[in-house]
Amino acid sequence: MKNLVILGAGTAGTMMANHLRPKLYSNEWNITIVDQYKTHYYQPGFLFLPFDIYSKKQVKKVGKKFIPKFVNYIQKKIEKIIPEENKVVLEDETLNYDVLIIATGSKIAPEETEGLIGPLWKKDIFDFYTYEGAVDLRNKLRNWEGGKLVVHITEMPIKCPVAPLEFSFLADTYFRKKGIRDKVDITYVTPLSGAFTKPTCTKALNYLLNEKDIKIETDFAIESVDNDQKEIVDYEGRRIPFDLLVTIPTNMGDEVIEKSGLGDDLNFIPTDHNTLQSLAHENIFVIGDATNVPASKAGSVAHFQAETLTDNILLYIDGYPLKKEFDGHANCFIETGNNKALLIDFNYKTEPVHGNFPFAKIGPLKLLKESVLNHWGKLAFRWIYWNMLLKGIAIPFVSRNMSFKGKVFDIKPEEK
């Protein structure tokens, strides 16, 4: 018997188990998936949790429910990967592998910024990239009476790069509904040169910030948090005061990647952009947030990667050359508040464009334009996630590679 081991039972790892089990003969291949945590979180829901749009129950389920039969599910901590010996060391046992898939994701590392975990942490400084952080922030917002709200990104890359902006838009709606918008000053602080990470988006969508009266501070690379003055300080001494700081701390890969010597300086694993094979070891493949590929760290990306990676694992096992297929395709709904959302579709090389999705001329979803239908699409996605995406069921009409049908290339990136 041969062994295929998947590390991490999050979105990407769970999808790979579901894709591969029916395709690998059970009398030839054991499949094992390892994850120390019992709960599977619907991470896109962390955006809605602070505003009481989703309840705690709606964003978590028992992970085991999504692991297919005849896959060995081990709930233990991963201590180390030893690629030279094709071994993974767990807390009290060692697994041998013929093929390894690393899907250990990324997580916040607030300790990377001086003063972030200080006296104000969880009092006036919160994150919403963890379940606990989102719940704590919800409790804070329920009683908050207003002041300076600063929404802040520490450094790129981050998981779901548009989430902080969506948070700002939803905050605007939330405080309006509460009748205290006039008492809240919202500032969006980014290390980038524009609000959106893609220049075409910045050009098409900057009106949203004006419309919602959100101030923006760009090119801000944080050095520290001044807990006494309640200010964030950048490397050039720029200071931005806050009463409530909602920060996206540095995102890093799992520490097991660092311990195993497999990652870059943020613990992300150097991975072939198109085949998803690790650059250092031919029997190690990487998927989702754990890679260093220059695509968004998002569930939709992991979903498209999973289709290519499934094919490539089968090709690798049979000794064929791998498909250089993955194009960085991402497809994301962006909540803009007031029950509206945008939809963007892009890849490594093509920036988000206008047009219809998924069908040319018909849509029904409009790309890069606000609509109520897109908002419903985002809410419907939670059902799709639990019932289709994790199970490895292809989403109808949405292909793994970006399609150019029905797209209009009418925006030029801003020149500088």
Partner: protein, 103 residues
């Protein structure tokens, strides 16, 4: 892509003024791009620039974080050398593509 005369030579540059071909770069080119930005280059600047060029030639991605760990400058010193966008400006002066650390 367009042509631009820098230090007396016609060079291919991107829409944002980054050199298309890093082998066309020399110190005179660096000085002229730097003076357009308003930076006067010192030996310390060149240490950083040469580090960026080596990393780019080795196809390694550049971030402010890894330059800060290079042992040549701290992040704070990088900001002093290249104010208001240290990686954007240092890359432009180094004749390498604009870093795509923004996704």
């Amino acid at each position: 892509m367009s042509l631009k005369t820098i230090a007396g030579v016609e060079l291919n540059v991107s829409e944002e003024g980054y050199l298309e071909d890093m082998t066309q770069w020399n110190e005179e080119v660096a000085k002229e791009i730097a003076s357009e930005i308003g930076i006067e280059l010192t030996p310390k600047h060149f240490e950083v620039i040469n580090y960026l060029r080596e990393k780019t030639a080795a196809k390694e991605a550049l971030t402010i974080r890894n330059v800060g760990k290079s042992g040549i400058v701290t992040i704070k010193e990088l900001y002093v050398l290249f104010p208001k966008g240290p990686l954007k400006f240092s890359s432009k002066i180094a004749g390498i593509p604009k870093p795509t650390s923004c996704i």
